[in-house]
């Protein structure tokens, strides 16, 4: 993301954004990125993005959590430090259920959160390129890559599909 020059066009409405993307796709223009202030319905489908693998990772992590949570309790209360709780057997499965459930959820949640941050290149200290601060307010942005020679036509393209404003972003170096 750091080396290339980008051309961005912004819109004020998510419906205009989708229309513009479709027009660009008709012209077979490769879209580098789309930035929106909130999740836009239908954006994933129109950009034909592949389904995230995050849920599968979450399931696997949750299953590990299930075994880990239950197994740990089973070890602690039979081998590690068995204690007599009201005469219950040491391996008392019903009493292990709440903690097992919580550990399952914990592992799944942590995997999902960190998986998300890693997968999308975000998180504390991650390098980000902010092209237009208004995207976090009320603007929807399409980014196109621009080689030095193609700069003009990218700008024109974006204006043609209805962008309200176009900017060129040179790399920081």
């Amino acid at each position: 993301m750091k080396q290339k020059t980008y051309v961005s066009g912004y819109f004020n409405d998510d419906k205009d954004l989708i229309v513009a993307i479709k027009k660009l796709q008709e012209k077979e223009v490769v879209i580098a990125d789309v930035r929106t202030p909130f999740p836009v319905h239908g954006l994933d489908t129109v950009l034909k993005l592949r389904r995230s693998r995050l849920p599968k990772a979450g399931f696997v992590a949750g299953s590990i959590g299930l075994i880990a949570g239950f197994g740990f309790q089973a070890w602690v209360f039979t081998e590690g430090w068995p204690l007599n709780f009201g005469g219950k057997p040491f391996m008392s499965i019903p009493s292990f259920i709440p903690v097992t459930f919580e550990v399952t959820v914990l592992f799944a949640a942590l995997a999902l959160v960190f998986g998300f941050l890693l997968g999308s290149g975000l998180g504390p200290g991650a390098p980000t390129e902010i092209f237009d601060e208004e995207v976090s307010n009320d603007r929807f942005q399409i980014l196109l890559t621009a080689n030095a020679t193609k700069k003009e036509s990218s700008q024109q393209l974006l204006k043609e599909v209805g962008a309200l404003g176009v900017k060129i972003h040179e790399p920081k170096s």
């Binding site: 319905h41 239908g42 849920p55 009201g86 005469g87």
Partner: protein, 371 residues
């Protein structure tokens, strides 16, 4: 047609078995299908009160299911009037022990019958009123009908909140009259509500096959699947809450209920949890699984059978000592199922398939579940 075929099966078995087993089955199935009908009314009511729009596409299915309440009610009334002595220990008023003596003010035959009648009459009246308003809104553009249905929905839900619990205590919990659980009412409710959702899905499948309901799209299926998934987990949560607390405190007065089930009904008892929790949890976890009608159908059938088993575990140990399962159970279930379906299709045919005049009807086809 369906009933006729099954009646024959029943006729054969009836002669051979002990009367309390027969009555227990009548109670089980009578309650199950009445509760499913009631859960269907609750489904519509909840969506009306929540100002939801998507449910209008499928609204006529639960509405027609609700029409079974008076008919199932008659079955339950027959159980109350004729089968009481076979099922409920407290009905033998001549020799009550100290505990049953203490509960006599509530658990006595006359009050029991009065309560049964009140539940059924009130539920039927409310169901009729809501149905009336829904059908009237087809023929008129008067939005006052819509606001009146909200008012009646609110009345229904308050009455339902109380009577769903008290009816569960009366008809099911009082079988084990020496025991009680404060969670029981909602535990039974969660079981029959998820069964209602399962039956809505099954009926949707059947109606699709018949050529109706083509407008119902994947988004509606997704939402129904979410309900099936979520409320199965809710049921499991209540099951665990009830079980864990009784297990932990280990008070004999309370544990007697589960000891009976874990020792004499052990396989069915644990199967109950696996089928009603494990199966829907794993089968409906992925997004795609909730959008495929055939998979939803399979899961719904599993859930339906599972909650029948749940009621079996709740009712049978108190009435008959050991698990018996045979032609009587199958036959009685099919009979009541056939009766339910007969009433459903008759009621469904009496109304337009979709409430096109409903103010939120268009909205039902313009939403999607985010990817």
């Amino acid at each position: 047609m369906v009933i006729g075929a099954i009646l024959a099966a029943i006729g054969i078995i009836f002669n051979l078995d002990h009367s309390h087993r027969i009555w227990a089955n009548v109670l089980l199935n009578g309650f199950f299908f009445t509760a499913i009908a009631l859960g269907a009314v609750f489904f519509v009511v909840v969506h009306v009160l929540g100002e939801s729009g998507w449910h209008t596409a499928i609204q006529r299915i639960p509405e027609a299911m609700g029409q079974f309440i008076p008919f199932g009610g008659i079955i339950l009334l027959i159980v109350a009037l004729l089968g009481m002595h076979d099922i409920y220990h407290w009905s033998h008023t001549e020799h009550l022990d100290k505990i049953l003596e203490g509960k006599k003010a509530y658990l006595n035959p006359i009050f029991f019958i009065v309560r049964t009648v009140v539940y059924l009459v009130v539920w039927t009246l409310l169901m009729w009123k809501l149905r009336q308003l829904s059908l009237a809104s087809d023929r008129s553009d008067d939005l006052k009908l819509f606001s009146r249905s909200r008012i009646w929905a609110a009345i229904f839900i308050v009455i339902f909140a109380v009577t769903s619990s008290t009816s569960a205590w009366d008809w099911i919990m009082s079988i084990d009259a020496h025991w009680f659980s404060t969670l029981f009412g909602w535990y039974i409710f969660s079981g029959f509500f998820v069964s209602s959702v399962a039956i809505i899905i099954v009926l949707l499948f059947v109606l699709r096959r018949m050529g109706y309901m083509e407008q119902v799209n994947d988004e509606h299926l997704h939402d129904l699947g979410k309900y099936l998934f979520g409320f199965s987990i809710f049921w499991a949560y209540l099951w665990v809450s009830q079980y864990l607390l009784i297990w932990y405190s280990n008070i004999p007065e309370e544990t007697v209920y589960f000891v009976k089930r874990q020792e004499d009904f052990s396989i069915i008892f644990f199967m109950n949890v696996v089928i009603n929790f494990g199966a829907p949890l794993l089968m409906l976890m992925s997004r795609g699984s909730k959008r495929r009608l055939t998979w939803l159908l399979v899961t719904s059938v599993v859930v339906f059978i599972g909650h029948w088993i749940d009621l079996y575990v709740a009712i049978m140990p108190g009435v008959i000592g050991e698990p018996h399962f045979g032609v009587l159970e199958v036959g009685m279930t099919l009979l009541c199922l056939g009766f339910f379906l007969f009433i459903f299709f008759r009621s469904f045919a009496k109304a337009p398939v979709v409430p096109e005049n409903h103010p939120y009807f268009k909205e039902s086809f313009e939403y999607d579940n985010i990817r």
